[in-house]
Structures are given as structure tokens and as C-alpha cells.
Amino acid sequence: MTAPVTGLRTVARVAERELQFFAAVWRAMAFSLFIAPFLYLVAMGIGLGGMMEDGAAGRPDLGGLPYRTFVAPGILVGTAAQFAAGSGLWPVMAGHRWLGFHRAMVNTPIAPTSIPAGLLSWIFVRSSVQAAVFLAIATAVGAIDSWWGVLAVPVAGLTGTAFAAPLMAYTASTDSDMAFDPIMRIVVAPLYLFSGAFFPLAAVPDWIAAIIRIFPLWHGIELARKATAGLDTEWPIAANLAVLAAWTGVGWLVGRRTFTTRLGS
């Protein structure tokens, strides 16, 4: 008798490959994953924040928070999102075209439709680990003082998938990496700057704020800040979560199609 091939197992194998790959190369990524966000926290939270603050009291325009407490969840989610965005671009192109390990994968029981789910599972885990390490460091330097802060870890994971899912769907549909740098420089980096990581969204013109609210990053930062600093979110928490889930879900569904066209036609 032929047993049904369960999709979840093949998804797990795709994630396992990513884990094995990460285990081989993580040292080369350690700086941008773990050390660079810490430097941001020191420079912005303690350096810049120290200049802005009079004494230990928080600032009213930051919801009464000291700057380092305000900025820590922003850096936590923002760096995870940036890294995840990159994971939806070059490594996917490598899998399809440059090196072809995804083409090898589909010669096994793994179907093209399983690959995006496997990659996203891994990106969720890696973004969460990255956030957890940052959270520990931020706590050690006094930027986080609530145990609720651990909830920022899965928020970073979900924000990571919200960036990676649509980008990997796009990558599977294109033959060229020409747009990758512009995507990172013109879309992802400005989003990091203006999505409320470093200053409240209220500080930007309404039309920019409206654009920012379309993208996942601000929603992730709002949720993380609620977790680490207890600051109330502008939207209901469920709405923030829904936006992150929608970017992830739609990206995943489109990715199932583009991966199938790329690897199985």
C-alpha cells in the first residue's frame, strides 16, 4: 500500500537543510546577526539617548519611556526583519539558479510547494533566536525590565516571515538579482528608519505614516514595544498580528505557485 506523503514532514526536511547550512556558516553571520544590533543599541539607546534625557525620567513624547527602553524593541524587530528580508532574496536565488540545491531537493519526495513553508519555518526560528539573543543583551544593559519582553521573541519571528515570504515568492519568479539591492536599500532600509523603531510614528507626516502602516515592520515594533515596555499599541493587538500574518500567508501562498513554476514545470 502507498502511504500518503505528509507535507509537514517534507517541510521539516527543508528547514533541516537550512539549519545544517546555518550550523556550517553561522560564524560568518554572527556579526550582523548578533553584534551589529547590540552596537546599535549602545550607540542609539545609551549614546544618543543619554544626550536627550534629563535625569532618569522618561520622555513624555516616548510614552514616558527612557530612550533606550523605547528603542530596544525597535532594534530587536528591525534587525530581525532586515536579515529575514535578505533571506528571501539571495539564498533563494542560489537555491534555484546559482547553486541549484532547491533543484536537487525536488528530485526527492520533497515537492516544490513544500520549500517556501520550510524556508519560512526556519526564518521564523532564526529570527526568534536572533531576537532572544538581543533581548538577553538588552536586558543586561538595562533596556528591558519586564518578563513580558519574551513575547517580543515570536513577534520578531513573525515579522521576519512577513518580510521573507513575499520576497521569496518574488525571487522564485525572477531570473535576475538586479532588483535585490534596490529592494534592500530603497524599501527595507527606509522602512527600518521610519517604522517607529527610533522615534514615534507620530513624528512623520501623515502620508508617510499611512504608507508605513501598510508594511509589516511598524506592526511588529508596536507589538514588541508592548511586550518589552508595556507601551499601548495604536491599533488593537489582533490587528497588528493580522497584518503580520497576512503578509506571511499571502507571500507563502504566492510562493507555492512561483516555486512550483520555477522548479516543477
Binding site: 500500500m1 502507498t2 502511504a3 506523503v5 505528509t6 514532514r9 517534507t10 526536511r13 533541516e16 537543510r17 545544517q20 547550512f21 556550517a24 556558516v25 547553486l99 541549484g100 540545491f101 533543484r103 536537487a104 531537493m105 525536488v106 528530485n107 526527492t108 519526495p109 520533497i110 515537492a111 522548479l263 516543477g264 514545470s265
Partner: protein, 327 residues
């Protein structure tokens, strides 16, 4: 955990398996938009045989192979692999195939050993089973002393041996090799052929695509010759040669195109079949040495001659008017 933790393939009894073809295609068509890569082909692959698709680049071999490998849906016709439907049962079929694609598609950042282990994991084989299996595969690929090496610095021949070793990780019932020695130097090709011979002698069933006639002659028990998406003939290498060509071919190089034209006329007048190529005249005959003197229109007109036995290259030229090297 069982060796294949998600898939329990439909393994029929040994008697059945000897009779039923491993793969069977009827009227198989593959189109990409307006382009027809495979234009309706019939073939069968039997257990224990080495079956070949011989043809120039663009003949449709790789497309046929990808349909067999269940990574490319068929456009029209019928295809069964292990008696299963590739469209519906792709993962089950692939769990019993070993695929070596033209590009090695190895994981360059991982070591040789990690590549083998990871590929086994794709099939759901447990790491404890793989620990033994990988030793066997490293030995087969003659890569044991390179196990800890990253893949990138390996030579082309080593990479190809690793892709073949990797394709054996699931003890496949059928191995698909797409242009296995393309791009390799002669020494690496010899070594690879020797490895494939070993598999063949162990009774492993192979499907090979190639545009090298020597590869097809050496490795294939039976082959189809493909051109422009169609099968132009089918048989064992010896049978195809006997069917289409006399025993020998004389290759004559003349001093000038003018005398070659005269030589070609002389051969035609003798009733011999020829191919009047740009740089030489091919004459098909059962008595190579005997005809040369009759084809020299004037003393010194012939620069060089070569008498050789007919090959699949000559069969292809006879059938299509083109050589295998031409696209």
C-alpha cells in the same frame, strides 16, 4: 524509525517486477508555451537494463528525463513510472528514483559527507541509518579521503561522482543520469564510466541521456535516437548500426574541395552511400581498404584516409543528415 518514514512505496513482488516495465511512455508530449520540446514519443524501460536517449542538444532528451523524474508535468500522452502516475504520485515515485542532473546542484557550503547525509534526510532516512550508508557511498564515489572537504574545491569529476553517490542514497530502483559526463576531461569520464559499469553489473536499472555516441555505445543496452523532439529509431547500439550502416566507414580528406567533388561523384557512380561533409568525404562500405584507390581521381588528390568501424554517430548522420555535435 523506518528507513523511509513517510513513504511506503508500492513494491510489487519480484516476479511481477521482472515483467513489468519500470517506465512506460505513450505519445508523450512536452510543450513550453509555443515551443514543443518532446513531440510525441513512446518508450519503455525494463528492469535491469541501461536505457539511453541519444541525440544532439535540444533534441528533447532532458525534457523527457525531467518528465520521467516527475519534476516536470507531461503536456499530453501517457506516462507511468513504477506503474504509478507522475502527476498524482510524484513523491512516491521520486522516493524510488535516483536522479543525477546535468548540473550537479550540490550544496557547495557543506562538506562532501554533509551533502550525502542531507540528501538522505530529504528522503526521510534516519541519521543513524545514514551513518553506515554514507560510508558505502563515499567508497563508491572514491571520495572517502575527501569526506570533510567542502564541495566547491573538488574537481568536476569528483563533483559528478558525488552527485552519483548522492543519487544512490535511497537505494533507488531506477537511476536517471542526464548527460553524466558532459564537461568532464577524458580521464574523469573513464573513471565515471567505470563507476556506472559497476552499477550496471550489479543489476541497477539506468536511464542515460547523452550526445556522446561512445558513451551510448559503452553503457546502453538499448537506446532511442532522438531528434527534434521525436524518436527516429530504437534498438541496441549494435542493432542500430547494423540496420543503418555498412560495417565500415572510410573517411577521406582531399587536397581541395574540387577533387573532393570528383571523389564524391566517383563514389556515387560506384553505388556507395556517402556523406559529403565540408572537410571530408564519408563513404559507407563493407570493404573500406578496397574502395580507397577507386576514389582517388588523380594521384596525390587524397591527403589522408581513415578506415574505421561504423558508430552510432554514423547512424545519427544517416538518419538525420546532421552530426550529433550540431545543435
Amino acid at each position: 524509525m523506518s528507513e523511509h518514514d513517510t513513504i511506503a512505496p508500492d513494491r510489487t513482488g519480484p516476479d511481477d517486477r521482472d515483467r513489468r516495465p519500470l517506465a512506460e511512455a505513450r505519445g508523450l508530449v512536452k510543450r513550453f508555451g509555443d515551443f514543443t520540446a518532446v513531440a510525441g514519443i513512446d518508450f519503455e524501460v525494463h528492469p535491469g537494463e541501461a536505457f539511453g536517449f541519444l541525440g544532439p542538444n535540444g533534441a528533447g532528451k532532458t525534457s523527457a528525463m525531467r518528465m520521467l523524474g516527475c519534476t516536470s508535468p507531461i503536456t499530453e500522452g501517457e506516462l507511468q513510472v513504477f506503474g504509478l502516475d507522475p502527476q498524482r504520485d510524484g513523491p512516491q515515485i521520486r522516493s524510488r528514483l535516483g536522479v543525477v542532473s546535468q548540473m550537479d546542484n550540490l550544496d557547495l557550503e557543506m562538506t562532501v559527507q554533509e551533502n550525502l547525509v542531507m540528501y538522505g534526510r530529504y528522503f526521510g532516512i534516519s541519521r543513524s541509518v545514514l551513518a553506515d550508508k554514507v560510508e558505502e557511498l563515499l567508497a563508491f564515489g572514491q571520495l572517502t579521503d575527501r569526506r570533510a572537504s567542502k564541495v566547491d574545491p573538488l574537481s568536476g569529476g569528483m563533483k559528478r561522482r558525488l552527485s552519483i553517490a548522492r543519487a544512490l542514497v535511497n537505494d533507488p530502483d531506477l537511476i536517471l543520469l542526464d548527460e553524466p559526463t558532459t564537461g568532464l576531461d577524458p580521464q574523469a569520464r573513464q573513471l565515471l564510466w567505470e563507476r556506472l559499469w559497476t552499477l550496471k553489473s550489479e543489476g541497477v536499472s539506468l536511464v542515460i541521456t547523452t550526445h556522446y555516441m561512445d558513451e551510448a555505445e559503452q553503457l546502453c543496452d538499448r537506446l532511442v535516437i532522438m531528434d527534434q523532439g521525436l524518436i527516429v529509431d530504437e534498438g541496441s547500439p549494435a542493432a542500430l548500426i547494423e540496420r543503418h550502416c555498412p560495417r565500415e566507414v572510410v573517411e577521406i580528406r582531399y587536397r581541395s574541395p574540387d577533387v573532393q567533388a570528383l571523389g564524391a561523384r566517383a563514389a556515387t557512380d560506384l553505388g556507395l552511400r556517402i556523406d559529403d561533409l565540408r572537410d571530408r568525404l564519408l563513404v559507407y562500405t563493407d570493404d573500406g581498404e578496397g574502395v580507397i584507390a577507386k576514389l582517388e581521381p588523380e594521384p596525390g588528390a587524397i591527403a589522408s584516409t581513415l578506415v574505421r568501424r561504423s558508430t552510432l554517430e554514423d547512424v545519427f548522420l544517416t538518419l538525420t543528415g546532421r552530426s550529433l555535435g550540431e545543435g
